[in-house]
Every structure is written in C-alpha cells, then in structure tokens.
C-alpha cells in the first residue's frame, strides 16, 4: 500500500485529502501514476486533466514526472505552489 496525499484544488476535485492504494507493478514513474489514477473515476480524471501542471512529491521531495516512484511511502499530488 502507498499513501497518496492531495492538496488545494487537486484535493477538492478528488474529494479527499489522502488515501492508501495498491499500485499496479506497471506504475513505475510519476507519469504512470497520473495515468493510472485517471482510470479510477471522473473526479480523478477532472483533478488530473492537465497532467503537466500537476506537481509530484515522493516522500516530501519534488520529483519530475519521468522519475521513478519506486519504494515511495508517501506520494503527494498538488497544483503549482503559490505561497510566499
């Protein structure tokens, strides 16, 4: 099981802040994960529609979409950051 956490409008569109899911073995990168999640329902398809703008963090560090997510305990998906 991998813990997924969502923030801001990604959280609002998916309708929850976190969940634990079993990732298929074929899901190896961040991009794979986004494509997989979009098959889980309309709310995911809507939240992750514009894949390029979604930021991914593995165990609280930024990763690019083509980087591996192997061994991740916690994966976060969120929109571009607007702090400061």
């Amino acid at each position: 099981m991998t813990k997924l956490v969502y923030f801001a409008w990604v959280r609002e569109r998916i309708g929850k802040g976190e969940e634990e899911i079993d990732l298929p073995a074929a899901v190896k990168t961040g991009a794979d994960l986004l494509r997989h999640l979009k098959t889980r329902g309309e709310e995911y398809a809507h939240a992750l529609e514009h894949e390029k703008v979604i930021c991914i963090a593995v165990d609280q560090e930024h990763v690019e979409h083509d980087e591996t997510i192997a061994g991740a305990r916690e994966i976060a998906l969120f929109p571009p950051m607007t702090g400061g």
Partner: protein, 157 residues
C-alpha cells in the same frame, strides 16, 4: 562564520502571527561579524477592497523541509551568518503578515541576495497554496501560479 560556528537556520510554519523585530533580534544576537540584516515581510493585500481574507493551505512536513533546504542553500551560496523563514497558514485578513524572511551577512549585497533568493524559491517550490475569499461573501478561487515567479527563480540558476 566566526569561530566556525554554523550559521543559525530558523524555519517555522505556524498559524499565529510572527514578530519580525523579535526574530531579527534573536538572529543577530551574538553575531559580531554581522554588518547587514535584510528582512522581507509579505503582507496580505486587500486587492482594492475586494478581498476579505486569504486562506493558506500547506503540506505539513514537506513545507518545513523544503524551506529548510532553500535556506541552507542560501546560507552556503551567499555565506550568510544566519537566516530565518517563517510562513503562516490558515486565514489571513488584508494587512496581515504572510511570510517573514530575515537574512544576516557581513555585507549588504549578500543579505539582500540571500533574502531575495529565499523568497524567489519559496514562492515556486515550497508547498503552500492560497485561496481567496471575497468581501462580497463569494467564495474566491485558488490563486494561480505566476510565470513571473518562475522567471524570478530561474535568474538564480
């Protein structure tokens, strides 16, 4: 760094307000080599009276970790004598404080660069999100990220 003492790095994410003067005093105390302190305070604008509040969401744990990484990079890159970065979360009314960065250095350009560098990175890579609430009671949207912030960060690389 005088005597090889590591430069203090203070990072906090909090709901309550901060005291820029107290944070600055704490950072400069005992740093006899410091000749320059630059503080940046980010405030909630009222957007011409339309805004009633900003709501700040963050990713607990990663927000602190990311700001810490940015601050340590700044200390090394600009040979800072100390740095503090404090970011508030929750609802903030117009005029209220959002973020504080204090950079301490022997000379002014390092202090200016250090504070400016931390802000440019914090804007684009620390996991915080702003949602607007409007004075007319309507629910505002999530604030969009700005291309100008990405460009500001890129000038450091």
């Amino acid at each position: 760094m005088a005597g090889g003492v590591p430069a203090p790095v203070v990072v906090r994410v909090q709901r309550e307000d901060f005291d820029a003067a107290a944070e600055t005093a704490r950072l400069t105390a005992g740093s006899a080599a410091a000749g320059a302190v630059v503080t940046f305070t980010g405030l909630c604008r009222d957007e011409g009276g339309r805004l009633s509040a900003l709501e700040l969401e963050h990713y607990p744990g990663m927000a602190e970790a990311e700001i810490g990484r940015i601050c340590r990079t700044a200390v090394e890159r600009f040979s800072l004598l100390g740095i503090a970065a404090i970011h508030r979360v929750g609802k903030i009314a117009p005029g209220g404080n959002i973020v504080l960065v204090v950079a301490l250095a022997p000379h002014r350009h390092a202090a200016f660069d250090g504070a400016s560098f931390v802000m440019d990175y914090l804007k684009t890579s620390a996991p915080f999100w702003k949602k607007e609430h409007f004075a007319d009671g309507s629910q505002g949207g999530w604030v969009d990220a700005k291309d100008s912030d990405d460009r500001a960060r890129e000038k450091w690389s």
